[in-house]
């Protein structure tokens, strides 16, 4: 029997084996990921624990992975100091080292790849990692994604300046980094996220200028609301931020407007913290091809779980906020241990029985209804010139007119009559389609500051449930990393020798008049398939 013929320019066989292998890779060393990694190691598995902290100052400046709002102190420029600080802030890392876990700090997990629909050529499951200098691939048998949550950004007049940031960004700068540059904060939202942020700020000696709630009543739990009241914090219900103004260093004061109408309050502050909600950090799961669904009670798009903590990709498990918001720290740790047990058992490794603990979430609130209320209130502040997508400078008006970007000049007459309504006549609203036309969500922040806000704005404007708008997809690399860092400088020989600009089919490029003549063979002989233009 003869060997099957293979196309020399096809991708199979061209990927090298990954630089290293780990039986279980855990992404994220927060409470859930750390608990998972520790349990896996205790059971004798070979574990790689990846955490991107401390992230580089340049990523922070792009509001990746959290919405840092340029409120970092200069300390974040010093990587060595930041590594010390990350250790100090996360004592569990010490235990991880002691257990023999391979801990990669300051390592970005920018992609995860599995054979499946549309790809069968990978040498096995791999994650792509990078630091500030280079990237590498790590093979795995099981992956536990505990990537947490990122900030939900919602725009208002003046939000596109330094000093406007997210609650998780603020938490990270106050705790993980101890490098927050602000002094006086106005907090948007009054749920537990907002109240715990306010209490943390007070504990760190900061001032809280106001807590703003657009609904008529505070949204937090009784416990935290009582703590806030005891700390002298007042919740300004029925209000919305009307605008923020400032100077070269960003926010200096904000105007807060009663929803029902009336006089604005002006409050001095250097920081506006968006604490209306968080977004499960599902980027890697989407790239891995795990099935996702919008879940109002779990905070947005979350993985569809086949078993308690297993995604639709059997090699991939989840724990913590990425699996759905609402867990306490203890519950997140317990879920991490569940993920460890499930991953270990799937590998045939006996796991220490977990102490029973309650990972049930208290009756979930409809996070999207709350976010939508805020979007409606914010859309009444300011006009169409308010920016929605900061990277690409797309305004509300441009988004809803589905207008071409400014670099193309004024729209043609035909273009002028096209808008969201005319597009909606042709089919359900699709955020990725509108992204391609307006460039909203196409910038270097990789839509961290605008993905949800654009979806909610489109849903409100078109009066459709946000569920009808498909998730604007995530693609690798899920962190914006330089070409020279991502580059495979040590490319495999098979990749180099099999490379062709297009398909490497010489007959494809024969000038039409030459087809069937002697010249056809000569072109192919001299050029091979390298004739693409």
């Amino acid at each position: 029997m003869t060997e099957p013929v293979r196309d020399p320019h096809a991708i199979d066989g061209k990927f090298p084996a990954p630089e290293s292998m780990a039986q279980i890779v855990v992404i994220g060393a927060g409470p859930a990921g750390l608990a998972a990694a520790l349990d896996c190691a205790r059971a004798g598995a070979q574990v790689l624990l990846v955490d991107e902290n401390p992230v580089s100052a340049s990523l922070m400046a792009d509001d990746a992975p959290l919405y840092f709002g340029q409120r970092m102190t200069g300390a974040v420029q010093t990587k060595a100091r930041m590594i010390e600080q990350v250790f100090a802030a996360n004592p569990g890392l010490e235990e991880a080292f002691e257990l023999g876990i391979d801990v990669a700090l300051g390592a970005y997990a920018w992609g995860g790849f599995l054979n499946g629909e549309g790809v069968r050529a990978l040498p096995g499951p791999v994650v792509g990692l990078a630091d500030e200098d280079h990237s590498w691939m790590v093979g795995f048998e099981r992956l536990i994604v505990a990537s947490g949550a990122r900030d939900l950004a919602l725009g208002f007049p003046g939000w596109d300046q330094p000093g406007v940031m997210g609650a998780n960004g603020l938490h990270a700068l106050l705790t993980t980094y101890d490098a927050f540059a602000g002094r006086r904060i106005v907090i948007l939202g009054s749920g537990d996220l907002a109240l715990s942020t306010a209490l943390l700020a007070l504990a760190r000696g900061l001032e809280v200028g106001a807590i703003v709630e657009t609904r008529d009543a505070p949204q937090g739990s009784a416990d935290l609301t009582a703590q806030a009241a005891a700390a002298g914090l007042e919740i300004l219900t029925g209000h919305v931020i009307a605008r923020a103004e400032g100077g070269i260093n960003g926010v200096e004061r904000v105007w807060l407007a009663p929803v029902a109408g009336g006089a604005d309050r002006v409050i001095d502050c250097d920081t506006v913290c968006l604490a209306i909600g968080l977004v499960p950090a599902i980027e890697l799961l989407d790239v891995l091809g795990a099935k996702l669904a919008l879940d109002r009670g779990r905070g947005g798009h979350v993985p569809v779980l086949t078993e308690e903590v297993r995604t639709s990709r059997p090699e991939v498990f989840v724990a913590g906020d990425v699996a759905g918001l609402g867990l306490s720290v203890d519950a997140a740790k317990a879920q991490g241990r569940m993920a460890a047990r499930a991953a270990l058992e799937s590998l045939g490794i006996a796991a220490t029985p977990a102490t029973p603990s309650n990972t049930t979430v208290p009756a979930p609130a409809d996070a999207l209804a709350y976010q939508t209320d805020w979007v409606r209130a914010l859309l009444r502040q300011g006009d169409g010139s308010v920016i929605v997508c900061q990277c690409e400078e797309v305004t509300r008006e441009a988004l809803l007119a589905v207008r071409q970007p400014a670099y193309l000049g004024p729209p043609s007459n035909s273009m002028g009559v096209r808008d969201l309504r005319s597009l909606a006549i042709d089919g359900p609203i699709n955020q990725d389609q509108i992204k391609r036309l307006t460039r909203a969500c196409m910038g270097v922040c990789q839509a961290r500051r605008c993905r949800e806000q654009v979806a909610l704005t489109l849903a409100v404007a078109a009066d459709v449930p946000v569920e009808t708008i498909p998730l604007a997809g995530y693609r690798a690399p899920v962190r914006p990393l330089p070409l020279k860092v991502l580059a495979a400088w040590d490319e495999a020989a098979a990749m180099s020798s099999g490379w062709d600009v297009w398909f490497g089919i010489p007959t494809q490029w024969t000038p039409y008049a030459d087809i069937g003549t002697d010249r056809e063979g000569r072109h192919a002989e001299i050029l091979g398939g390298d004739m693409h233009l």
């Binding site: 099957p4 013929v5 050529a121 990978l122 089919g427 270097v444 690798a476 070409l483 991502l486 490319e491």
Partner: protein, 383 residues
Amino acid sequence: MTGSSKNGASVVVVGGGVTGLSAAWWLARSGVDVLVLDKGVVGWEASGRNGGGASHYQSPLFHEEQRLWPQMDELLGYSTEYRRERLIVAITPTQLRHYQYMADMHGELGYRVDKLDACQIREAVPLAGENALGGIHVFFGGHANPQRTVQAYAWALQDLGGRILQHAPATRLVSEGGKVRAVETPRGTFSCDALVVAAGPQSGQLLEPLGVRLPLAPARAEMIVTEPAPLMAVGGVDGNGLYGRQTLRGNLAYGGGPHEWMDVGPTGPVARPSTPLLRNLAKRVAELLPKAAHLRVIRSWAGVVENTPDGRPVIDRLTSPENVTVATMSGVGFGLSPATGHAIRDLVLDGVCSFADLAKLSLARFADLPQNWRDARGWTPAS
């Protein structure tokens, strides 16, 4: 023609990619009642995911492609972001030899191409580096924005009264008396006097029950894009084993390298994953444009394209069923689309292309192709 009732059209086009939309637009310009059926959103497959090149010297439609592109914004009434010219940068002696050979081929077709030495190419391409050995400056061709162009065709078609029905995958062609009379979809059955099949990888499966064998092998190809760089005077820069361009926004968008053969079901690709190939693309972009090596990659993506056995398009009015015109562009559909649409319009209405000889693109050339042609070439999915 009789098919102008609401449940049909004189001409039904299956496939709302660039080829189908351009054909429909050309037909609508001739006053024909036309309906485009798409399985999802217009331009969602390879039509909206490619490099945007518009320089297909090998095609019989080349001269028409070159004639039309500079007019397309005005003809369509919407921006395509088309820009003329290309600069091809060589960083190895072999690349330089290849590009110069290509330049001679273009010259023979009557188009201006300048051969540039190392100094000239570095001057012409500000992001190139000391490793650039030379290159060619092509004064024809160019590039456009695929996503914007697809929507421009769709809207221009609607402006002329043409109709598009999205989320309406063609499931069956209903034939009678040697003609296709209707197209079945989950959203209804649509009658037609004439049919255009431009359904990409799905075209073969759609035609098969009619006894028409259109040999196609689908494959997945990948691209990456960076954050914006300062605009270069000519954005159509590639080379070093890459195709792509600097967009008018400034982003560097490049693809190339090995493809993955796959099978695609009648409803199209289920997923379009990208792979660690993005690292190999990043390497080649950093080599091609060293002064851009610090730019951050912000996305990668993949598209699924179909290839014929010789890599050349099939653009053909069938003899049976005689009211069917088939177009598959074998991986180079975007740039040629203005001309392809014109050719399809001619075939549908007049039975013959008015401006080019398409004989070598007929389906008949594959009549004797063995059934196992994909295996014989190794154009099959990895096991």
